[in-house]
């Protein structure tokens, strides 16, 4: 019995010491580099590219952090490219980098504005970023077969995993969906951020309306940023391909998961879980309660939007009545027209508020609900892995031949469990921090929008008062 390391129930993962000590982007444990559930750095690329190191030459970020930092800085030099990205010759009118990569430098994509947008996010724990991603510039494509929207994905990075420091590619929702699926497959022990909803009722929502497209763009932008911020996911080869490949589809077939082989099979069924470690049980409970609260908040927000819309309808009828009144008054003509104008201004302000809440507040709530759904799935997978381990362990414990060493697959199971737990715990803490930031931003934004609404109305009414009183004074003077 003592030969087999028991999984500690309290979720103490002290064996995985590297997690707590390294400040730079944490990686999953190195316990078993071969078949662990931990992420591989990616497969060797088949495309020739000068200046790009082979996978084996790249240090694992977890070990010897200082070394990796220094080695990375050495690699930060841009190697004059050949071959890696070839867009230069294809008749593009865009400006290109010396190495031929087309980079759009028209104003929305100019470096300063890109950085400005990116710097809105706080730097957590003083992490220095070396990968910046944005999604913008939606465009409609019409072909005989279908109509769809593509978004421009701009990347700026100093990472050596990338051939170039900058990329600009066009992707459609399908591509994001592909990426997410790949991430889920290849990083099953991690929490993958959610995407905005895939399907929309064709009759109900206009998929090509400005509001829908912009809402989607923002969610896609958030998705990529979250992946880019993730210490493990951001190094995923599929993510890399997504950001850099000219033609994504071609890459799809070549992505290999050789090292992943067996570890992909995490959706094991039928194993019964003995005891969930308190930590993970607490996570599950929290997620359940939090989902409930989010649902309530979503309902409240929708109700408010509805009531405001109804109020707006009445206002739009109310204002004009003052106008029609003014039409048969003499002295009162201007004051009544003034009030009518004021009400009209307030109506517009209310319209903006409602629209903003619809477009910016509700989607974020929805996104979190989806996020939590996928997190619960990961928690379930973890339970499964643990259950599998426990079952196999039990079988081994009761084996007849006590002298034979513990079979390796039980050891592997144990590794899997411990890695999963480690990954999950790190991701959980990261998620909690992000969640706090996100909601602080979301709710502050909601308060801001309401403040702006009232300020607009205030300005309208305040500017009316003098014009209402002026005539009064003028008349009093002539009396």
């Amino acid at each position: 019995m003592s030969a087999v390391p028991l999984l500690r129930g309290g979720g103490q993962l002290t064996d995985v010491r590297c997690l707590s000590e390294i400040k730079t982007p944490a990686r999953s444990s190195e316990i078993s580099s071969s078949s662990s559930g931990a992420m591989s750095l990616g497969t060797p690329r088949s495309l020739a590219s000068s200046g790009q190191k082979n996978i084996q030459d790249i240090r694992h970020p977890l070990c010897a952090a200082e070394e990796s930092a220094s080695s990375r800085s050495a690699d930060a030099l841009i190697h004059p490219g050949s071959g890696a990205a070839t867009g230069g010759g294809g008749g593009e009118k865009d400006l290109s980098l010396p190495n031929g990569t087309p980079v759009e430098t028209s104003s929305p994509a100019s470096s300063s504005s890109l950085l400005n947008r990116l710097q809105l996010d706080d730097d957590l724990d003083g992490e220095t970023r070396d990968l910046f991603v944005t999604v913008d510039d939606p465009k409609k494509h019409v072909s005989t077969m279908e109509t769809y929207i593509t978004y421009r994905v701009c990347t700026k990075t100093t990472r050596t995993e990338f051939d170039l420091p900058e990329y600009s590619v066009r992707r459609r929702y399908q591509d994001f969906d592909w990426l997410r699926n790949k991430l889920e497959e290849s990083q099953p022990t991690h929490l993958i951020p959610p995407l905005p909803e895939k399907f929309v009722m064709k009759g109900v929502v206009d998929r090509f309306s400005e509001e829908f497209v912009d809402t989607r763009r923002k969610a896609l932008d958030k998705f990529l940023k979250r992946v880019a911020d993730h210490p493990v996911l951001s190094f995923n080869e599929h993510f890399n391909a997504f950001l850099s490949a000219k033609d994504l589809n071609k890459r799809q077939g070549l992505a290999l998961l050789t090292k992943m082989g067996e570890s992909v099979k995490y959706v094991t069924g039928g194993y019964k879980l003995r005891g969930r470690p308190i930590e993970f049980a607490a996570m599950g409970d929290y997620l359940d309660m939090f989902t409930q609260k989010l649902g309530t908040i979503d309902r409240i927000a929708q109700r408010i939007i509805k009531e405001q819309s109804e109020f707006l309808l009445e206002l739009r009828e109310y204002g004009p009545v003052y106008s029609s009144w003014s039409s048969f008054e003499e002295e009162l003509h201007d004051p009544l027209e003034g009030v009518s104008g004021c009400v009209s201004n307030c109506s517009s302000a209310l319209d903006e508020l409602t629209e903003d809440m619809s477009e910016e507040f509700l989607p974020v709530l929805k996104e979190y609900v989806l996020y939590i759904e996928s997190m619960k799935t990961v928690l379930k997978k973890r339970d499964q892995v643990q259950a599998e381990y426990e079952t196999k362990l039990e079988a081994v414990v009761f084996r007849e031949d006590k002298k034979t060493p513990v079979p390796t697959d039980v050891e592997k199971c144990q590794d899997r469990v411990e890695c999963f737990n480690a990954d999950l715990k790190a991701d959980w803490d990261r998620w909690q921090n992000n969640k706090r930031q996100d909601f602080r931003q979301l709710l502050t934004g909601m308060a801001d929008k309401n403040i702006q609404y009232y300020e607009k109305c205030l300005a309208a009414w305040e500017s009316l008062i003098p014009s209402l009183q002026d005539k009064q004074e003028a008349r009093d003077e002539t009396n």
Binding site: K293, I300, R303, F311, Y318, F328, W461, I465, L468
Partner: protein, 434 residues
């Protein structure tokens, strides 16, 4: 003093104001400005109380009475500040007073009473006459009515009005003794009758039209406003739900908990603030309602003009036909078809004596008729003059009052916006500490 000039305030009993009675009243109004009752006396409707008693059909009923306090202005300024005189009146007595004034002074745009039943109600307001908020708003409206009457050049001098304010007992009897009731009925009938006037004064026709439009537009405004108030109430109150859910949510959070909890309190405060906001807006609605009812009073004055004009035209028409008849009789020619003419043709002419008698009768009638036309003409002119004076006064008052109402409405909106900004700023601070 307003009473100088004559004690002969018109007694309503026989006909409309005779020319001399009108003249009297006009004389009273021509007393120098500033001698209206309000300058001499402080009036206010201080309280409201519930009473129960037996009504006319001997059934128990609950009703509200209002305390009217009066105090001479001079006494107060002398520093003695005596206890005011006071008496209790109920709404129906106010109605009686107003009906009397309508009949006694048809050329005056008589101030309206606050509404009998709550109308243009939005869901939170009840239509219950016993509701304390309704009673309070009615108290204010009744005081406003008395102040308006007391500051009116003509109305404030009325004895019945004075005794309404000063004599609790026996006032009703005094009113009925004026015999105005009979006039009230015929007035109503006349107002509702349809008749065509050939030469109405254009100003009155325009004013009547204005009254119609004003009534229509204010009704619409009040209706939409009530609906909007309903919706606004909903918006604010739903925010209260945020208070609850933030509180529940804060219980499962560590660092975010405090910020959420306090933000929730601000959301509760926000939701609660709408009650005061809408109560203030009711005051604005009441100001609009007053002019909604004023529009009716204006229409009545214009209608009365039409009636006097019509009666004049009728008298003139009658006179013309009588003159024609005389001519025909005198010259023997039948100009117009008449039964008499036909029968005389068929059954033979009358005797000279009969004709003579007829002619004489006609002459008398024509004389009387000419007197009547002269009378009615004067009536008409005087009515037009005095009514138009009051209409001009009304127009000025309306322009002033409604402008003030709009200003205070704007101030209300500004206050509401400022409150909103404050609450959301407070909430924002809590959120930023999450």
């Amino acid at each position: 003093m307003a009473d100088s000039g004559s004690e002969e305030i018109a007694v309503i009993g026989n006909t409309d104001l005779t020319p001399s009675e009108s003249e009297n009243n006009l004389k009273n109004t021509m007393v120098e400005k500033g001698t209206n009752l309000l300058k001499r006396m402080e009036i206010n409707v201080a309280e409201a109380e519930k009473r129960t008693g037996k009504n006319a059909v001997n059934m128990q009923e609950t009703y509200t009475v209002y305390l009217i306090e009066t105090r001479p202005v001079d006494a107060a300024s002398e520093g003695t500040n005596p206890v005011p005189d006071s008496l209790w009146r109920r709404y129906s007595e106010f109605e009686l007073l107003r009906n009397y004034l309508l009949v006694a002074y048809p050329f005056v745009v008589v101030p309206p009473l606050p509404e009998k039943r709550a109308e243009f109600v939005w869901h939170k307001l009840t239509a219950d006459n016993m509701d304390p908020d309704f009673v309070e708003r009615r108290r204010v409206g009744l005081e406003n009515f008395l102040l308006r009457v007391a500051s009116h050049q003509v109305l404030s001098n009325d004895k019945i009005f004075y005794s309404f304010l000063t004599e609790e007992n026996g006032w009703k009897e005094t009113v009925f003794e004026t015999g105005f009731q009979a006039k009230a009925d015929s007035r109503l009938k006349a107002l509702n009758a349809t008749f065509r006037v050939k030469n109405p004064d254009k100003r009155f026709a325009d004013m009547k039209h204005y009254g119609d439009e004003l009534q229509s537009v204010i009704s619409q405004l009040l209706r939409v406003r009530a609906r909007a108030a309903d919706r606004l109430y909903g918006v604010y109150k739903v925010h209260g739900n945020y208070g609850r859910v933030f509180s529940e949510w804060s219980a499962i959070e560590k660092e975010m908990g405090d910020g959420l909890q306090s933000a929730g309190h601000h959301m509760d405060a926000y939701a609660a603030s709408v009650d005061d906001i809408l109560e203030e807006e009711e005051h604005y609605a009441d100001q609009l309602k007053e002019y909604l009812f004023y529009a009716d009073a204006v229409r009545a004055v214009c209608r009365k003009h039409e009636l006097t004009q019509f009666e004049l035209e009728m008298a003139a028409q009658d006179l013309t036909s009588k003159k024609q008849q005389r001519e025909e009789l005198a010259t023997g020619t039948v100009r117009t078809f008449s039964l008499k003419g036909m029968t005389s043709k068929l059954f033979g002419q009358e005797t000279p004596e009969q004709r003579e008698a007829k002619l004489k009768m006609l002459e008398t009638q024509i004389e009387e008729g000419e007197e009547l036309v002269k009378e009615r003409n004067t009536e008409c002119d005087e009515y037009v003059k005095s009514a138009w004076v009051d209409i001009e006064r009304f127009k000025e008052q309306k322009d002033h009052d409604l402008r003030e109402a709009l200003i205070s409405y704007a101030i209300m909106q500004i206050s509401m916006c400022k409150k909103g900004i404050q609450v959301w700023n407070n909430a924002k601070e809590c959120f930023s500490k999450m």
